[in-house]
């Protein structure tokens, strides 16, 4: 799972030469073995280093504040999203929905690595949502749809259909 994600990220970043990854431990933590130097371990670490390789450091944030928020969401992805139980899914969706009410992107006013990795990580959850639930978490759905249409992001993942006209308009908002 994480390995396909990293190879999609490479394409998204426009990196020409694919890297070889292995995994370690029970939880299959991805490992990137560089020719020179020690191995890079962990999804976020590898993703950040790929961004630097591609010289697209704006994806890690342009200001100190934006960089911090990007890191916050990368951490959220691996510590909360990746290890959440079925019951926690709803809490996460609710949190995100509230957070995204006044935001287009997760960090600052531009597209960052946080959007990409959160999109990859939450895809399987959104896939399974019923139309009614997608409307309930409207801000998440809108963000998700925007990111999946962002050029070059959606590689290994199937597109999720999002209705623009609400079917259950009696809900919130």
């Amino acid at each position: 799972m994480a390995l396909r994600e990293l190879s999609s990220l490479e394409k998204c970043l426009g990196l020409k030469k694919p890297n070889k990854y292995s995994t370690q431990g029970e939880r299959k933590v991805p490992v990137l073995q560089n020719n020179n130097g020690p191995a890079v371990v962990g999804l976020v670490t590898i993703a950040s280093s790929l961004v630097r390789d591609a010289k697209k450091t704006e994806l890690l944030g342009n200001t100190a504040e934006q960089r911090a928020v990007v890191q916050q969401w990368l951490e959220y992805r691996v510590t909360r999203l990746d290890s959440c139980t079925k019951d926690e899914v709803k809490v996460i969706l609710k949190e995100l929905n509230h957070y995204l009410e006044d935001k287009v992107y997760l960090a600052g006013n531009s597209f960052t690595l946080a959007d990409v990795l959160m999109y990859y990580g939450i895809h399987y959850i959104i896939m399974e949502l019923a139309v009614q639930e997608k409307e309930k978490y409207l801000n998440v759905t809108r963000w998700f749809d925007h990111i999946q249409h962002y050029p070059g992001v959606r590689h290994h993942l199937p597109p999720v259909v999002v209705l623009r006209n609400r079917v259950y308009p009696s809900g919130q908002h």
């Binding site: 992107y105 409207l138 209705l163 623009r164």
Partner: protein, 441 residues
């Protein structure tokens, strides 16, 4: 790609549409918004201007190839790329829909509400209240649409977003205080995202959202009115004169109240008044008058041959005490990628330095090609010090450059001035070929 000049008065939201579109498309747009290139009320009434633009209104666009356009939406459309215009028939029709929506639904109530707060239109309580209701209705429509959408059309910024955001600009700056805008979170989210895109920011600068709803500015309004009555008042004097005058004033007031929602023609008068707002104080006021008339040199430079006329004029008339010549070199050439982006960097800087134009002239050149370029320029300023620290408005870009004051009498200075002003020569100190130049005047 389109290249040309946009005539407008400074800070014209209609011109912003075209300028932002050009930021996205990379169209090479020079902005003529201050003398000598453009004096509002003079240039646009001149026969030459009227010949190209019969309405005499701005913004007006003239391409380097002579192609002329008036009407801000048409200009913005022309300067856009396909992504902004909408690349399918459906998308481009939707873009047109929102551009028209901005003009016919947003602008009339926005003007009726905002103009009195800027002191460029008489206040009329009824009209303002009616306008507020109209604005609420429009914001509700937008809020509904943006509930499920990130941008107005498709998943990218389009001309629709540019036009609608620009038409809401004054509302958000002047009157949409937090409590008023709170019911429209989707519009707020979208607006804040738009104005923070680098292409918007390059033109609009930092936009500060309204904190407290501005009210009618009676003093400013009085100042902006032609002073017809004032001398009469003095002549009459005394107590007797007071009465008829009051009556007269009352009558006038009534007349104004009777007027229905202001027509489009009046709006432009209002905007004209807005454009002629009193200027802030001159940062160069502390310097003694100079014999060198920069505008005259600029005219020579623009209209006549650089090597045979403009340069000799420059050296003959330059006031060595009143002016200094500087070499400015961009400090981060490694970060320059596509040339059109680098050009935007230069023109963006010029636009942010708009109010410096009267006291400076510069030729800034982009050398090299994509991903291997550098930017440097020759600047002529009033005074002997670097001009940028004199005004807060000018300090955004200059720290990204290394500045070196040139010895006016030196050979180096003569050569550089010649090469930079003429856009030709060896440019020995650069080591990259000339790509394109931009003139700040």
């Amino acid at each position: 790609m389109a290249a040309g000049t946009l005539y407008t008065y400074a800070e014209n939201w209609r011109a912003y549409k075209a300028q932002i579109a050009a930021q996205y498309s990379g169209a090479r747009l020079k902005v003529a918004s201050s003398p000598p290139a453009f004096t509002f009320g003079q240039t646009n009434r001149s026969p030459a201007f009227l010949n190209n633009f019969p309405l005499g209104k701005v913004p007006a666009y003239q391409g380097d190839d002579g192609f002329c356009l008036f009407e801000s939406n048409a200009i913005a459309h022309y300067l856009s790329n396909d992504a902004l215009r909408g690349s399918t028939p459906q998308a481009s029709a939707q873009v047109l829909q929102w551009v028209s929506f901005a003009d016919s639904e947003i602008i009339p109530p926005a003007s009726a509400w905002v103009f009195p707060t800027l002191g460029i239109m008489q206040f009329n309580k009824q009209a303002t209240e009616q306008a507020k209701e109209e604005v609420k209705r429009v914001l509700t429509v937008l809020n509904q649409h943006l509930n499920t959408r990130t941008f107005l059309v498709g998943e990218r910024v389009s001309l629709a977003d540019i036009a609608v955001a620009c038409s809401l600009l004054w509302l958000y700056k002047q009157v949409l205080e937090p409590a008023f805008r709170q019911p429209y979170p989707n519009v707020n989210r979208w607006f804040v995202t738009c104005i923070n895109q680098p292409q918007f920011k390059a033109i609009l600068g930092e936009v500060k959202l309204c904190e407290k709803m501005a009210q009618f500015d009676a003093k400013k309004f009085a100042e902006s009115q032609p002073k017809k009555e004032a001398p009469a008042k003095k002549e009459k004097g005394g107590k007797d004169a007071g009465k008829p005058q009051q009556q007269q004033e009352k009558k006038e007031k009534k007349k104004e109240e009777k007027k229905p929602a202001p027509a489009a023609e009046e709006m432009d008068e209002c905007e004209a008044a807005l454009a002629s707002e009193p200027k802030t104080k001159d940062p160069f006021a502390h310097l003694p008058k100079s014999s060198f008339i920069l505008d005259e040199f600029k005219r020579k430079y623009s209209n006549e041959d650089t090597l045979s006329v403009a340069l000799p004029y420059f050296w003959e008339n330059l006031d060595r005490e009143g002016y200094s010549i500087w070499y400015g070199e961009y400090r981060f050439p490694d970060e320059l990628a596509m040339t059109f982006m680098s050009c935007n960097l230069i023109t963006g800087m010029f636009q942010r330095l708009d109010k410096l134009r009267k006291n400076a002239f510069a030729s800034v050149i982009l050398f090299g090609t994509n991903n291997a370029s550098s930017i440097s320029g020759i600047w002529v300023f009033r005074g002997q010090e670097l001009a940028f620290p004199l005004s807060e408005d000018w300090q955004i870009d200059y720290e990204s450059y290394n500045w070196r004051k040139l010895d006016v009498e030196s050979e180096e200075c003569k050569t550089m001035v010649k090469e930079y002003f003429a856009w030709e020569g060896e440019f020995k100190h650069v080591g990259k070929p000339f790509n394109q130049g931009k003139i700040f005047k």
